[in-house]
């Protein structure tokens, strides 16, 4: 059973429809640590040692966030800048994260069709997440395919609840090693 760390970032969860449900669905799951970055670090003063020790205790690291301007909310960048230190996460002696997995759980307002080469945004979400992919590579981690919930602007409450249940199932499978990782 793998241990999963979810680095969750939503600057205005009180306004969120989708993430609030996702969080509610997975809270308290065995083997899964939900780490709410904006709640723990409202002042962006990230405790680097604490974050590093959390990383060491987990096998799979997932960034869960809304897709803001083709990327993650600001605190994720702050977290990466500070926590993934040279000599610890990368570089000649930076082997702390070797062999772990990393990935993104993303919600996007537009439909999947918009995130295509010939779509409204001209690129896929996977393409936009290239910095995450290469960051994982530099830290000797394997980058997982992003888990995307598309079209959230048009989701009804019921379908959001369904999405939350699927998300929970996906995490269970990932945790129990039933999901094929390429």
């Amino acid at each position: 059973m793998a241990k999963i760390l979810i680095l969750f970032a939503h600057p205005a969860l009180e306004k969120s429809r989708v993430h609030a449900q996702l969080i509610a669905a997975i809270r308290g799951m065995q083997g899964i640590t939900l780490h709410d970055l904006y709640e723990v670090y409202p002042d962006f003063n990230i405790d680097v040692r604490q974050e590093q020790s959390l990383l060491l205790q987990h096998d799979i690291i997932l960034f869960q966030h809304p897709f803001y301007w083709y990327s993650a909310p600001a605190i994720i960048k702050q977290w990466m800048d500070l926590v993934l230190e040279h000599g610890w996460a990368y570089g000649h002696t930076g082997t702390a994260l070797r062999g772990k997995f990393a990935g993104n759980i993303v919600t996007a307002g537009a439909q999947e069709a918009a995130y295509q080469k010939d779509g409204w945004h001209h690129h896929t979400i996977r393409d936009f997440l290239l910095p995450f992919q290469q960051t994982a590579a530099l830290c000797n981690m394997q980058y997982l395919d992003p888990y995307v919930i598309y079209g959230t602007h048009r989701l009804t409450h019921d379908s959001i609840v369904e999405q939350a249940i699927s998300y929970k199932h996906m995490l269970e499978q990932l945790r129990d090693g039933q999901l094929k990782i390429q």
Binding site: P11, A12, D43, Y68, G109
Partner: protein, 624 residues
């Protein structure tokens, strides 16, 4: 020589204008300057003024009344109540012990018992005018020595009442001539009725101060005639004096009480600024009159007797005070200041001396010798305080270093000066220190300086509102000064000095409340930190969090609130003067709060974060 009033006024004013700047330049302080000016223009030297000196002194004593009114108005009743132990304990013991010792001395010198007792009581008093003015000038009024000295002086003012009652009894059969002193309502009454009259007068002041003077002040202020307010302020102090004299109480004491009653008044600052110049001029006049009254012919005819008397009286008084100060746990340096400051004989002695002369208790010779002794002891006091400042205080400063490494550090001037190392300043200092920023720390509380020194923190004892001290602390080379004095008055003084002499220094100033903030804004201070603002908002943010609101939202909301509040305050500061005369402070505060609250309702202090709100996008998506 008979001169016109204008000529005399010209002489006094010219003497003040010439001597005070010189005295200040020499570091002697204004009190000594006035005294010297008095000596020079007096009958002994230039003779511009002669016998009228005594009359002028009686007139100028009104400056003392005004001073006590001003002190009272700065003292809230609760503070006064807190001081009851030093007033009764320290003051009571001082008067009793000094009276006993001085009486003993007089007996030893062969005076009869009644004369000795009268002299003892006269000599136990100290000079409110000289002590408070000198201490104020040195910024020592709020130190433990200053507070203790004030307590003792206050008790002495109360002690005058029974003294005046006892004096006619000492005169024995030779007197009975009460007509020669001002006739008071109490004279022919039995003891219990006298007490009632005194209590009644005190009640009148308190009740009238509260329920009559305040509405009257509002009416007068509304008339919007500047000099009318000044006239009313003077009328107030004069009326109190008249009432007090009528019932045979000390006018100074009554004025002090009247001041305390008005301490919470909304017109406090106006009253203060109106009376202040009169007080200053009258006190100056008083000091000059004291200087002029020293009869140098008499002093020179028997120099050793008079000098011996002055020195023994001052030593007796100072030693008594220092022993008492030690019992009341005043630190050594402060205790020495306390003892020296109160070692002279007070101005009331002049009144009592002429009174005893009229009552035939003392002979004319004794009275003239004693008058010279009293005046000299007053003249010596500023000198003693100067001695304390130059010789004793530096020994207790933390400037001397014990090892060579520390001496090196003083050579590299620190970029930061912290003026005031109380609750507020010490947090700033600690924070700077952990960030590797060295600061030169100045503090006025010698007990605190000692305590910090024991903890290994280098703090310099001294008044940061003194230009020379700031220069010594490296103000010329420093970049930043943090001003966090214990009181608003001290803070304002430091700000003024820094602005005048070290304009390159960036000032970061602590403010206690909104009125202080306004005053600092008026002085052009850019970086003002209201003492409780950040903490209250952090508390509010934590409360929001406990109610389930997201931490990030709560924090942003608190930050936004602080910014908006600062902005609103700057806006209100600009328009506040229009209404200042009308609204009393309490009302003003409520109104300000209302204004702030109503602007809250408009902006709701919410952090605007449209970027995180997807409602508009949802709406658009659903339109397609």
């Amino acid at each position: 020589m008979e001169h016109s009033y204008f000529f005399i006024a010209m002489i006094y004013l010219a003497a003040a204008v010439i001597f005070i700047p010189i005295a200040r330049k020499l570091g002697l302080g204004s009190v000594l300057g006035y005294l010297l000016a008095g000596v020079v223009i007096g009958p002994s030297l230039m003779g511009f003024i002669g016998q009228e000196g005594q009359d002028i002194m009686h007139f100028a004593e009104f400056g003392v009344v005004m001073m006590l009114f001003l002190i009272g108005i700065e003292l809230e009743p609760a503070l006064l109540w807190n001081m009851r132990a030093p007033i009764l304990g320290l003051g009571g013991l001082q008067v009793l012990i000094t009276t006993a010792l001085a009486t003993g001395l007089a007996l030893l010198l062969g005076q009869p018992l009644n004369v000795s007792l009268a002299l003892g009581m006269i000599l136990s008093l100290s000079s409110t005018a000289i002590v408070l003015q000198s201490l104020k000038e040195k910024g020592q009024l709020s130190s433990s020595a200053g507070q203790s000295a004030f307590s003792v002086l206050l008790f002495q003012d109360i002690a005058v009442i029974p003294m005046l009652a006892i004096f006619p009894l000492l005169a024995g059969t030779a007197s009975g001539d009460t007509a020669s002193h001002e006739h008071t309502l109490r004279d022919d009454l039995p003891a219990w009725a006298q007490t009632l009259v005194v209590l009644g007068a005190v009640t009148v002041i308190i009740v009238a101060g509260r329920y009559l003077v305040r509405p009257l002040l509002r009416v007068v202020a509304r008339a919007r005639v500047r000099e009318l307010f000044t006239a009313f302020a003077l009328l107030l102090v004069v009326s109190i004096s008249v009432l007090m004299s009528l019932v045979g109480l000390s006018p100074a004491l009554g004025a002090f009480l009247g001041g305390v009653v008005l301490a919470n008044s909304e017109y406090r600052h106006e009253l203060e600024s109106d009376i202040e110049p009169f007080k200053g001029l009258l006190l100056g006049l008083f000091f000059m009159a004291v200087g002029a009254s020293i009869d140098f012919k008499l002093v020179l005819s028997m120099p050793w007797v008079i000098l011996g008397l002055v020195i023994s009286i001052m030593v007796i008084k100072a030693v008594t005070l220092i022993i008492l100060g030690k019992t009341f746990r005043i630190s050594i340096e402060q205790n020495l200041l306390f003892g020296m400051a109160l070692s002279q004989v007070g101005e009331f002695a002049f009144v009592l001396l002429s009174f005893t002369q009229q009552n035939n208790i003392l002979s004319t010779d004794t009275v003239s010798i004693m008058t010279a002794v009293v005046a000299l002891s007053m003249a010596f006091t500023p000198l003693l305080l100067l001695l304390h400042e130059r010789l004793i205080q530096p020994r207790f400063n933390r400037k001397e270093t014990t090892d060579t490494r520390e001496a090196d550090e003083i050579h590299e001037k620190h970029p930061v000066i912290i003026a005031g190392f109380g609750r507020f300043g010490n947090i700033v200092g600690r924070f700077l220190r952990v960030n590797g920023v060295q600061a030169t720390i100045l503090d006025l509380d010698s007990d605190r300086v000692d305590a910090l020194h024991n903890l290994g923190v280098k703090v310099y004892y001294g008044d940061a509102s003194r230009q020379d001290l700031l220069a010594a602390a490296g103000a010329a080379e420093a970049k930043v000064i943090i001003i966090a004095m214990d009181t608003v008055e001290q803070t304002l003084e430091v700000v003024k000095i820094v602005r005048k002499h070290f304009p390159h220094l960036q000032m970061l100033v602590k403010a206690e409340n909104i009125p202080d903030t306004y005053e600092l804004m008026d002085l052009g201070v850019l970086h003002i930190y209201r003492e409780t603002l950040d903490t209250s908002l952090r508390m509010g943010a934590d409360a929001l969090q406990m109610l389930g609101i997201r931490a990030y939202h709560a924090q942003r909301s608190a930050n936004t609130f602080r910014k908006q509040d600062d902005k609103a305050l700057k806006g209100l500061s600009a328009i506040r003067n229009d209404k200042k005369l009308y609204i009393n402070t309490v009302k003003e505060r409520i109104e300000e709060l209302e204004k702030l609250m109503s602007s809250d309702r408009v902006t709701r202090w919410n952090p605007t974060a449209q970027g995180w709100d997807e409602q508009s996008m949802i709406d658009e998506a659903n339109q397609d």
